[in-house]
């Protein structure tokens, strides 16, 4: 009898019931911190509040959670293109992650409508007296102006929504009809889709973060975000997968061999991110051109350097060394711990990229920049669990389904 119920459960692969509780708690935490965050906007500057501070922190929280959702989109298309058991077992989590993008769009609206003057120096082009900066802003006014900025943002979101919509829709259709052509459709869309993903990520990162310092530019910057967002999403997905794999219905279906593959990919993404980030640093450090080097000086002087050291050691070195171990990658719980740790370090890295722009030359701990990501994170996770529960946890009608599950039962190396 027990055998039978398990089979029945397996066929639907429903999300464990506890997820509803997590969803409520996440929503509660999100709402509480959101209230705190909004209150912070009206608190005096002396205790770390204020409207400018509100939007600075808003950008940090927004970019962090946007990264997780967007990384899910990129990974979803990547696994459609490469195939493989690792992609199939995390596909539903990735899909649910992409379906949080509408929330991110809602969160973008306040930033777009009210936030720009509080964030970007190019909004104040005409008021700037410093000659050199003024000249640069004049030269860039065709690109860095609010109208074009908003048009571009609309294009990015339109592209992201389109990719999200079709990939999710076809996947759901395949669940219903078991037709193979949907797999083909998804693969066919993912080729051009991933190109669009890389391009929109590049330009969005330039628009929303790089242009905080309108003088500075770096051609690898977009790729750092592509790698970073993918890494954020991958860490998040691994943590969720471990949670799912330790209870029915996925218990026994997603196994050590799957986590081994996911661990290897996590290591690859950690290395890829570090490669991009270090390349940029070494080239700018060696070139030592004043206009460029200043960007790093802002992030190394006045205490910020310690955050930089922490990023090198904890975002790269520590996970790198740990993930070399085969046993660790096959131990789901430990892998999840590292993944969550990397996710936290992704936040530290983003803090280090954004916040020094508003606090040049002196380290500042902004409590608002902690509150905001927690608030958005609560909403994000609640939204995510709500979406995750709408569908079976595995794409049962995928043509490679049996093979992918079977893969977990053989060791792999």
């Amino acid at each position: 009898m027990a055998e039978r119920t398990r089979v029945e459960q397996n066929l639907t692969y429903a999300t464990p019931r506890e997820s509803a509780r997590y969803q409520q708690r996440a929503l509660l935490v999100g709402a509480l911190f959101l209230v705190l965050f909004i209150v912070g906007a009206f608190l005096p500057i002396t205790i770390g509040g204020g409207i400018d501070q509100f939007f600075h922190s808003y950008l940090v929280g927004f970019m962090f959670w946007l990264g997780v959702a967007m990384g899910c989109l990129g990974l979803l298309m990547l696994q459609h293109l490469t195939g493989g058991a690792w992609g199939l077992v995390i596909r539903r989590v990735l899909e649910a992650g992409t379906r949080v993008l509408p929330l991110m769009f809602l969160l973008f609206l306040p930033l777009a409508i009210f936030g720009l003057p509080h964030l970007y120096e190019w909004m104040h082009r005409t008021e700037i007296t410093e000659k050199a900066l003024r000249a640069v802003l004049e030269a860039k006014k065709n690109y860095l102006n609010p109208t074009f900025f908003l048009i571009r943002a609309a294009v990015y979101f339109a592209i992201w929504f389109a990719l999200m919509f079709f990939l999710n829709r076809w996947s759901a259709d395949q669940d219903r009809t078991a037709e193979r052509r949907y797999s083909k459709n998804m693969t066919a869309l993912s080729g051009p889709g991933i190109i669009l993903f890389v391009l929109t990520t590049t330009f969005a990162s330039v628009d929303w973060v790089m242009s905080l310092d309108a003088e500075w530019f770096s051609t690898i910057y977009g790729l750092i975000y592509v790698a970073g967002w993918t890494l954020s999403a991958f860490s998040f997905v691994i943590a969720v997968m471990v949670w799912l794999a330790t209870r029915p219905p996925l218990e026994g279906e997603v196994r050590a061999a799957h986590f081994h593959d996911l661990g290897k990919l996590l290591l690859a993404f950690v290395m890829l991110w570090a490669y991009f980030a270090f390349s940029q640093f070494l080239i700018i450090w060696s070139g030592n051109i004043p206009e460029e080097a200043e960007w790093y000086l802002n992030r190394l002087r006045g205490g910020w350097g310690w955050i930089g050291v922490a990023v090198v050691l904890l975002h790269f070195a520590l996970p790198f060394v740990l993930l070399l171990s085969r046993d660790l990658k096959r131990n789901a719980r430990r892998l999840a711990t590292i993944a969550l740790f990397i996710l936290v370090m992704r936040f530290v890295d983003l803090y280090w990229l954004i916040v020094p722009e508003f606090n040049r030359g002196h380290f500042k701990f902004e409590w608002m920049s902690i509150v905001c990501p927690i608030a958005f994170g609560g909403l994000w996770i609640a939204f995510f669990f709500w979406q995750l529960r709408l569908r079976p946890l595995l794409p049962i009608n995928d043509p490679y389904f049996d093979e992918a599950i079977e893969h977990g039962k053989h060791g792999g190396h």
Partner: protein
Amino acid sequence: MPESDQPHDEVRVHETTPLIEPGHTFASVTDKISSLVLKRRTPLGWFIGFGISFMLFQLFMLAVTNLVFTGVGIFGTNQPVGWAMPIINFVWWIGIGHAGTLISAILLLLRQEWRTSINRFAEAMTLFAVACAGMYPVFHLGRPWLAYWLFPYPNTMGIWPQFRSPLMWDVFAVSTYATVSALFWFIGLIPDFATLRDRAKSRGWQILYGLLAMGWRGSARHWARYEMAYLLLAGLATPLVLSVHTIVSFDFAVAQLPGWHATIFPPYFVAGAIYAGFAMVLTLTIPLRKFYGLEDFITDRHLRNMAKVMLATGLIVAYGYMMEAFFGWYSANKYERFMIWNRMTGPYWQFYWALILCNIVTPQLLWIRRIRHSTLALFIISLVVGVGMWLERFVIVVTSLHRDFLPSSWGMYWPTVWDWSMFIGTIGLFLTLLFLFIRFLPIISIFEMRTILPQAEVEEEAA
């Protein structure tokens, strides 16, 4: 296992073309590949190909002799274009080498079994390409007999190399790369040397292959350590190959010159290297498999997969061009803007647009299924990409240098006959080595081909 009664073959629907034609056995695979080496008569086509390559190689010898006797003045290198054909060709060759390591190492880690029939050949290509690349830094020094000065060794002058220079990084990167590639290749060959030892008819070849096989006897313990070593080497070669072209890109990017000083250079150079390398692998394997009748082992699926890798890396390269152009404009820096504008419309505009045509426009044809399935089309596209990647290095090196910051220092650069002789000569060197390799060593890894036969699977009895 409850799933075992499900029809699995029906599931594998996309992969209609196998990696190895059905009907082969351990013996037939072994005999077919080793006979290419062991059969006594050398085909006439080989002599013709080798003859032409060897003649081109003589052109290299001639150019180098003149170079050593006369000096580097025989090249077109000048002021302001102080880096020219030697570095262009160095980068081109070393890039070509990268596909070999990629196929043997990265695809091994990704468990892509289709690499098996092309990895040996691609690794050989890597070694020969690195050898050709190595000629340029050595000979353009002017006093090639002092090339060992590049390495840090205790010397009577009491000085050391200057490690803040990317050129020193290059010395270490390229020599490490050459060493590790050679080891990887040799390790892969050991079991096949043993096969040749046991198959060779004449005493001389038995002894020679026997020495190279070092007493390999296929012991299970040996195989276990061997496989571990091979896997670890693959794990090391993967970041190594990325680091090599990254460091080559630092040669340029670390300078302050507009057009060179770009942070995108490392990934964009690496992608370009793999792109050119796969183009070269296709250029060589398509005629080779036809000539030696190896279509059973290097199937159409191999060619299609390589075409897909080419398309993907080509798109990354396109991203690189796009970022250069966009940030050239976005920077609002007059030197950056001039540089990119000068590339597109300046005296070398033909090179830039030819590069775009070869490297970006043409490969888009690979999106089309029919093109990917046409051997001839793949051959032509890979030749075009090979040319395109040479043009890319020409554009990066020459157009960035020929317009100095001061208009009074502007100039032009055109390669001399000796520049071309040396370049064409290294192609001769490359092909000469390749022909020797084809004649004396198994061009396909025999033991790895055995592993992908269905009979190699150990059938487990249902417990």
